[in-house]
Amino acid sequence: MGKEDREVRMSLQTLKVLEAFLENPTDQLSGAEVHQRCKIASGTLYPILLRLEAAGWFVSRWESINPSSAGRPRRRLYRLTPTGLKRASEVFASFNRGVLA
């Protein structure tokens, strides 16, 4: 996926995902954890995660565990990039301005 800073089409579900990450921007969340926080169906969630990653707002990496000792497969963890954090904050700020205006 490209890491360039691109515009992302904002939808309610995308905002929910960004909000989940903005609660603690240093958090690394798997798709299952984002689903638990946002209650977004997987058919919508994963395209959003990939879209934000392609736009450079997210980066992802594999969880550093040994699946055999952990007893479960490794998860793909997403976290906000500095660019993503900045852009997401701007998005929410613009929404707040719009609401307050």
Binding site: S30, G31, A32, H35, A41, S42, G43, T44, L45, Y46, P47, L50, R51, A54, R72, P73, R74, R75, R76
Partner: protein, 300 residues
């Protein structure tokens, strides 16, 4: 179907769906998404939650493939690259290809059948070929009861000497063994004379037979016999205990004229174990054997 088998089936269907969904995504992503989705699948607790996730992943592939196509097409600068990508996208652009539609149809049919089995409506809506099944109980005379022989004392042979006190009653030798119970009867104790008849032994025996919950006809008419148009009446002998369970394998007393029908009758008789009505004697269930007829009839 037990709940464990159901959950196992759902899990396998979910994993299969995830693998299929991942294969539908563009090549660089397919392996990664398969592993990622399977890991998230393992994090779900319930089977239906996993199945929902898998269906969602399958649905997500359309969005992912579409966005990927758009990105690739936009990045392509040369006409050759554009035509190659158009070819690639053309192969994957059909929303419901024949293969996908068939797969979804099969999954839907399986889900419908499973739901039908789960709620128990199959017996109401799934009618097999018109078959009719009747059970006729044979009211046989109860088998003779083996009771110990009751000694009949010959009380007329008792001679009483009026000159002697009653205490000195003498009895002639009774050729038959005397029943102690009869000696203790009040009439005897009073020293009266006359013929004493023993109280009759009355056993109220009610013959058993197929009872409530006995298997239905639709399940045991052999399909091979239906195809051949075979019908007939098989007489089956079954030995059951007081709780209505078979104590031995049932046997065919009279064949229905076809080994297939006989096998069906025996299968039915075995399947009905636990649903037989036990024979009762004076209201108490007892072990017994009896025969009943099973009619396989293609009419109606």
């Amino acid at each position: 179907m037990t709940s464990e088998r159901m959950v196992d089936w759902v899990d396998r269907a979910a994993v299969c769906l995830v693998h299929n969904a991942a294969r539908r995504t563009p090549e660089p992503l397919s392996e990664r998404l398969a592993e990622e989705w399977l890991a998230d699948l393992a994090a779900r607790r319930s089977g239906f939650s996993r199945l929902r996730l898998a269906v969602g992943c399958y649905w997500a592939t359309y969005s992912i493939a579409r966005e990927r196509r758009v990105a690739v097409v936009a990045a392509a600068s040369s006409r050759l690259a554009h035509s190659n990508i158009a070819t690639f996208t053309g192969e994957n652009s059909t929303v419901f290809s024949t293969r996908t539609a068939t797969f979804l149809l099969v999954v839907s049919l399986h889900a419908a059948v499973l739901c039908g089995l789960a709620v128990g409506v199959s017996s109401k809506f799934i009618k097999l070929t018109p078959t009719r099944f009747e059970i006729h109980r044979i009211d046989q005379a109860p088998p003779p009861v083996d009771l110990p022989p009751v000694a009949k004392p010959d009380l007329n042979a008792i001679r009483v000497d009026p000159q002697k006190p009653v205490d000195n009653l003498t009895f002639e030798q009774d050729p038959l063994p005397r029943s102690g119970d009869l000696m203790d009867t009040p009439r005897d104790a009073e020293g009266g004379t006359g013929t004493l008849t023993p109280p009759p032994v009355v056993i109220n025996r009610v013959q058993g037979g197929p009872g409530i919950g006995f298997p239905s006809a639709h399940d045991f008419y052999p399909a091979s016999a239906i195809r051949r148009g075979e019908q007939g009446i098989a007489t089956v002998r079954a030995c059951v205990d007081g709780s209505g369970r078979l104590t031995s394998n049932p046997t065919i007393v009279q064949s229905a004229g076809s080994s297939r029908l006989d096998d069906g009758a025996l299968t039915l008789a075995i399947a009905g174990s636990g649903h037989y009505r036990a024979t009762t004697e004076n209201g108490k269930p007892v072990n017994s054997c009896y025969a009943f007829r099973i009619r396989f009839d293609l009419r109606n």
